[in-house]
Subunit: 239 residues, 2 copies
């Protein structure tokens, strides 16, 4: 093979990019290290020059991904100093939702791949990282809400962690339902019910007034439930 030498960071990112693309496309287990190095056009040794293991690569991909999300949340939510805690909390959910809607097709693909048992590790690592980085932001919002008199939970930190892990298991079950929504149209209703319960539980746990938090939007659920449109089936097949 022709030998091509590059800057450390450039190669690193090539490998991260290739890894991410393949992991999101075929899943973690089904992507071999050989697939990745083949895609980049590099040898086994090079891969292990940059990463300790396949698992290490995944860690670094997830970290990069999560830090990008954090940056987004800080920029679009936390920095809006004119907002009160309830508004920030709602914006928090809206921001995440909007991001998913913007990259709808990617998200649909990702959902299909990520929520398979074989890709549990990926999902879990993304959850862990999200929990680690996003909970502190949640805590800030809750503290602000307590000061402003909107919330009254006993323990901000533990409450934030509880709420966050609730939202993660909510995603888990929601996506599962979404994925078979084509076959089972009643799943849309079930998702709506789920979101409603989550929403009101959130209010109760935080001590927020009823209806102050708004997450449910049937339109959005239906958007994700719809099978991909014809026009988007273009890059199928092909080596």
């Amino acid at each position: 093979m022709v030998r091509v030498s590059k800057e450390y960071d450039e190669r690193l990112n090539e490998l991260l990019d290739a890894g991410q693309q393949l992991f999101f496309q075929k899943g973690y287990e089904l992507t071999s290290v050989n697939d990745i190095i083949e895609k980049v056009g590099v040898a086994k040794g090079t891969f292990y020059h940059y990463f300790n293991s396949k698992d290490d690569l995944l860690d670094k991909i997830v970290e990069r991904w999560t830090l990008a999300s954090l940056e987004r949340v800080e920029r679009l939510v936390m920095n809006q100093e004119h907002l009160n805690a309830v508004e920030k909390l709602n914006l928090f959910f809206i921001t995440i939702r909007d991001y998913k809607v913007e990259s709808l097709e990617l998200m649909k693909m990702l959902m299909k791949v990520l929520y398979k048992d074989e890709n549990l590790i990926m999902r879990y690592k993304m959850f862990q990282q999200s929990l680690k980085w996003l909970t502190p932001e949640f805590v800030k919002i809750i503290k602000q809400g307590i000061e402003e008199g909107y919330f009254n939970p006993a323990d901000e930190v533990e409450t934030a962690e509880l709420i966050f892990s609730m939202s993660l298991s909510l995603s888990e079950s929601t996506v599962k339902l979404l994925l078979e929504a084509e076959r089972k149209p009643e799943n849309i209703d079930k998702i709506e019910r789920k979101l409603r319960v989550y929403q009101s539980s959130l209010e109760k746990i935080l001590g927020a007034s009823t209806g102050s938090i708004s997450i449910v939007e049937r339109r959005i659920i239906e958007l994700f439930a719809k099978e991909e449109t014809d026009r988007s089936i273009k890059n199928k097949g092909g080596k």
Copy 2:
């Protein structure tokens, strides 16, 4: 090798037992099919005569385990017809806790092994199965509570699922803290806080009166945090 023929169910259980023991001891990934057949004293072909895959074996082990728990819950909690919903809910938690205390050393070992990233699949499958089988019991309790006027959630089924998944992520974080409680004694306090928040959240979500649900018991937490006693370090080493 000497050929020994046995009843279908007997062989099946031998394999399930061996698998369970090894999975609980070394973890799923680190246990090879060869380990299992060696332990039973049987050939590769025999294993695949009884199971489609290593993963299939895990499924069946987890199913057996979960159904045993379900049977226990039904016998010790659900059949106590003289109890009201609040009492049943409390008994539910006590029953689970007592079981863990009874088999304390096994549980400690299991915690150590199960809560490693490599054994995520095991944990996940146990969670899934628990959710599937135990949620209906939860629903029954909630419905009874609504009838009796103790609870007032909007949607029993979704609330039950939410609560159950909350308790699972609670286990997740609690065990993680417990495992490093030796090094970090402050973890015990953190666990207590976590449990308290969970408890009061539960009350709020269900609409139960404050203090009616009781989960936290520092004594029990400390019991699990303590490193295994001298006397229990007897079966270490040895092939």
